[in-house]
Symmetry: C2
């Protein structure tokens, strides 16, 4: 991870002016670095990690950061990890450019591997990310949304990048196709669980710990799994969500209380734990080149983060 | 070019919903397709055009389109080629996502060549494009800007993508390094001329023909070469530009009249013609694999477009 951080520092330090400052502020804001960690841990454990895997790990984080910066523009978010977002601190224009810069740097980083399949995978994933953003906005306030549509959106928005992060590590360290496919499936299930837990935290998390304002999804009309389950149990929540326009703080608090009283949080939690179990199951099919113990630990840490 | 259009149609047709619609509206809005044309014309003329060159040609146009869509967000532009911009017609959120989609698709397209050097070149160019956007905004209303700073910005914003478009055609069709470098230099000089002519048209063009509102640069405080020359000849123009905040229509018209009266348009035109001459000069150093006649014609057409 030190080598990955070093790459990110190079990228952040490459420019003077507001672009460099905004990129540095984004890259140094902490963040869990889950995606690059997965890339490294999915490399063949029987040999030193190749340089290409380091570049790929940095690329997954850069792509992730690019989407965060752009998401904050579109959501008009003011805080991210307890700090001002680029959009809020530097303005929309710099935020759009910073997102583009990070996206382009992700490909510049990956291109250094010289591996066409790796670039093809990450670019397909980036296409899906932009599709996921649009899905999320088009599906806002749509209380008829089912869990299948939710899953599709989460794959585009989150899980496919987890899957790609894992596959890149396997691919660029020369693990065979069976392991590549298994690790990609592991990453996808882990990513789904990660997103569901994230959506639960938006309803029940501690703001001081998450660094995000509670109820952001409710306010934006983003229909998440706990909300879908709550609407199944208590259809009268629907009209409150669609009251039209932005909900005020009292209305958001009322929706959150309704969701929590419906038992939907527990049901969503079970769905996430099911994805974690699926991630573990597929790990068991991997060959001896795969770092099973540490990947198991990552799966546990996704659960612990929520607990 | 038919094969390139077919690739762009595939990209535009890949999604339903507002993302697909916005992408289609962008890709079908006409456009001169100068960049993909350069890629094709820079391929080795002694053999059929390889598939990789077609993909690269489509990629250069997709990257260009991505920057247009994002630029229109940042400039709050309402019209592009006589049509509503994505930002104006579909909203900022869809425009940011559409730009990201086109950018990601550019790399997906180029990744199909399997050529790491090609991807590295385009991603470096994309990094420069985002830097160019920020430079343009940071340098707005800076009347001390000289022609060197202007040139640096034009390289990032325009000329480097022209250079990359040319080099990709040469590289992916197997022309030797000397030709690759010469064609890249040809593209850079052509791109600089293209940008200078574009900047002149903003001051003296026919709105019905350009599809853009005249004086857009003046209104945004973008200090272009004709303006730099005008400020050298008539320093009293400076305070008018920096009047603070958005200039009204009468103030813009007064600045335009001042620039035209200063002789700066002719001087900028001579600089652009100098770049065209430089592009022609470097063509003469190329080997017999290079499509000299048609590349000469492209250089002439850049001049004709302005005339």
């Amino acid at each position: 991870m030190n080598a990955v951080e070093a790459r990110l520092t190079v990228v952040a330090g490459a420019y003077a002016g507001s672009l460099g400052e905004a990129a540095r502020s984004t890259l140094t804001a902490g963040g869990k670095r889950v995606r690059p960690l997965l890339t490294l841990l999915c490399a063949d454990r029987r040999a030193p990690i190749p340089g290409g895997v380091i570049h790929a790990a940095a690329a997954t984080e850069l792509l992730h950061m690019a989407t965060l910066v752009h998401d904050d523009v579109l959501d008009r978010a003011e805080l991210r990890r307890g700090r001002a977002t680029v959009a809020h601190g530097f303005g929309v224009a710099t935020a759009v450019s910073t997102g583009n810069y990070l996206l382009a740097r992700a490909f510049a980083e990956l291109a250094q591997t010289g591996d066409g399949a790796a670039v093809a995978l990450l670019s397909r994933t980036a296409v899906g990310l932009s599709e996921g953003e649009v899905l999320q906005r088009n599906e806002a306030y749509d209380i008829t949304l089912g869990s299948d549509a939710y899953r599709r959106r989460c794959e585009r928005k989150t899980a496919d990048l987890f899957a790609a992060a894992c596959r890149l590590g396997a691919l660029l360290s020369g693990l065979h196709h069976g392991d590549q496919d298994a690790l990609s499936a592991y990453g996808r299930s882990l990513g789904l669980a990660f997103q569901v837990f994230d959506d639960i935290l938006d309803l029940s998390g501690d703001e001081a710990r998450t660094g995000k304002r509670r109820g952001t999804d409710v306010r934006a009309g983003t229909v998440t799994l706990p909300l879908i389950f709550a609407l199944e149990a208590k259809p009268d929540l629907g009209p409150r969500l669609r009251a039209g326009g932005e909900l005020d703080d009292a209305a958001v608090a009322a929706v959150i209380a309704g969701v929590r009283a419906s038992g939907a949080i527990d049901r969503a939690r079970e769905a996430a734990l099911g994805s974690i179990a699926e991630a573990r199951r597929v790990l068991a099919t991997c060959s001896e080149g795969v770092e099973l113990d540490l990947l198991e630990q990552v799966a546990s840490s996704v659960v612990d983060r929520y607990a």
